[in-house]
Amino acid sequence: MDYRIEVEDLNVYFDELHILKDVSLKIRKNMVTALIGPSGCGKSTFIRTLNRMNDLIDTFRMDGTVLLDRENIYDPKVDVVELRKRVGMVFQKPNPFPKSVFDNVAYGLKVHGETDKDVLNEKVEESLKAAALWDEVKEKLDKSAMGLSGGQQQRLCIARTIAVEPEVILMDEPCSALDPISTTKIEDLIHRLKKDYTIIIVTHNMQQATRVSKHTAFFLHGEIIESGPTDRIFIEPCDKRTEDYITGRFG
């Protein structure tokens, strides 16, 4: 089986706080992996380690290895800008730029040097279609993205991310700020995207994890308690704590 990301013995510290403890996880290509676990267990810190967003925090320290396509992304030779192009991210709160719909999607392409108008137009349309947003916004590409609904904004953020053609998409609770209908749309979208992208999604919603993911990892207090095929984790978890969590006895 081909792995896109291989994490081994990852430890993450913020100052003296030991956030992630000896975390090891292998993530397969073109598949959806769900990360579940109670708040504060380190899921978000984990996915932010995968595109080095934690580098923005002064007190961040880590050891262990994180391999993307067998390359260590924390190697000093690695270009972080290039890495983030390959590992895209969708945030918890929809955060489109205060720019037009078009400029939001074209942004990533422009910062990577694309200036050809025709190419931009084509890629923007393609990305918006892939994010199932095109029909809703094609009449108002030049209007501010701030005027879209929350669900549309989040799909715009996904379109913006896929426009730069990453290999991996990290999603940090992408539906937690959305209503059920928007959530369904995003989940449908995830299903369609998984054949082209490796997706890692953090979620607090157990049903969502079972609906969208093939693989699941359960985090608790900075450790991975259990990981494996989603079906198995939810039907016959090996660990008592996993069972307690997914049946709603704590968390």
Partner: protein, 291 residues
């Protein structure tokens, strides 16, 4: 005392304190108009505003060269202070490490606390001789005054712009970096555009200080009533005109100085309206700016 009377007294008391400051300002403005109006009537509105000669002993009261003087000094200092201040603010908000920021901020705040007479004195002793040696002439010039003003308004522009840049939500920054943009691309394309309304506010405040500044300008601008043909020419600002001549002015001359004050008030009002228009317009396009 009952609760109702308590409430009544407190509300009325607050109303009085609020209204008293408005009344004081209104009285001052009424007074200035009262004293300035006769001069405008005597000299004629058009002759006063667009008159090229200010010579009270000959009965000539034209403030046009001083309107130009004030605008030119302010404009030139903004031309220098805005880029300098904005880049400094970007550096402090985004690039400077924590320790450096801890030194830079108080230093700038100290700059804004220095009284203008000290700046003027410094300009007179250091800058004027320097300009004389470098560019010839007397050294008293529009450029000298603008340089001093630049230093004076820099702290306002830097600190207000820095606050505006810092209050741009970190979500924008993260989103941009996560797309593989570099730090500078993120600053240029996302953070700074979102902070523009706040930056405009900082420029308005700086402009207000520059156009109202008097003492430091008197000390270094040369105060010759003329329309400058080069930035090395001496000029007189409207504020300087009032301060220089108020000690001995009588009759129409005295009224004309108040009328100069009226012109100054209107000039500041017009500039504020223009600046606020841009501020508002930018805020709308940005979709709710910051500060």
């Amino acid at each position: 005392m009952s609760r109702e009377t308590d409430e009544f007294l407190i509300e009325k008391g607050l109303f009085l304190t609020a209204i008293s400051s408005v009344i004081v300002i209104a009285l001052i403005i009424i007074f200035i108009f009262w004293e300035g109006y006769p001069a405008i009537v005597n000299v004629g509105f058009f002759n006063f505003i667009f008159g090229m000669d200010w010579s009270p002993s000959n009965g000539l009261y034209g403030v046009f060269p001083m309107i130009i003087g004030s605008l030119a000094i302010t404009g030139l200092s903004l031309l220098m202070a805005v880029p300098l201040g904005v880049f400094c603010a970007i550096f402090m908000a985004e690039i400077a490490p924590g320790k450096m920021r801890k030194i830079l901020r108080p230093t700038l705040q100290t700059l804004s606390g220095i009284p203008s007479v000290v700046y003027g004195f410094f300009g007179l002793i250091i800058l004027v001789p320097f300009m004389r040696v470098q560019f010839g002439g007397t050294g008293f010039s529009m450029l000298t005054a603008s340089l001093i003003l630049t230093v004076m308004i820099l702290p306002i522009i830097v600190s207000v712009s820095e606050d505006a840049i810092k209050s741009v939500p970190s979500e924008y920054k993260e989103a941009s970096l996560a797309l593989g943009a570099t730090h500078w691309q993120t600053i240029k394309n996302v953070i700074f555009p979102a902070a523009i309304p706040g930056v405009i506010t900082s420029i308005i405040l700086g402009m207000g200080r520059a156009i109202g500044e008097t003492l430091a300008i008197i000390m270094v601008a040369g105060n010759v009533v003329q329309i400058p043909t080069s930035i090395l020419d001496p000029v007189r600002a409207l504020t300087s005109n009032i301060a220089i001549e108020m000690g001995y002015a009588t009759g129409t001359h005295y009224n004309a100085l108040f009328a100069t004050g009226i012109v100054l008030i209107f000039m500041i009002l017009i500039l504020l309206v223009i600046a606020n228009y841009f501020h508002y317009k930018k805020k709308v396009t940005v979709g709710g700016g910051y500060l």
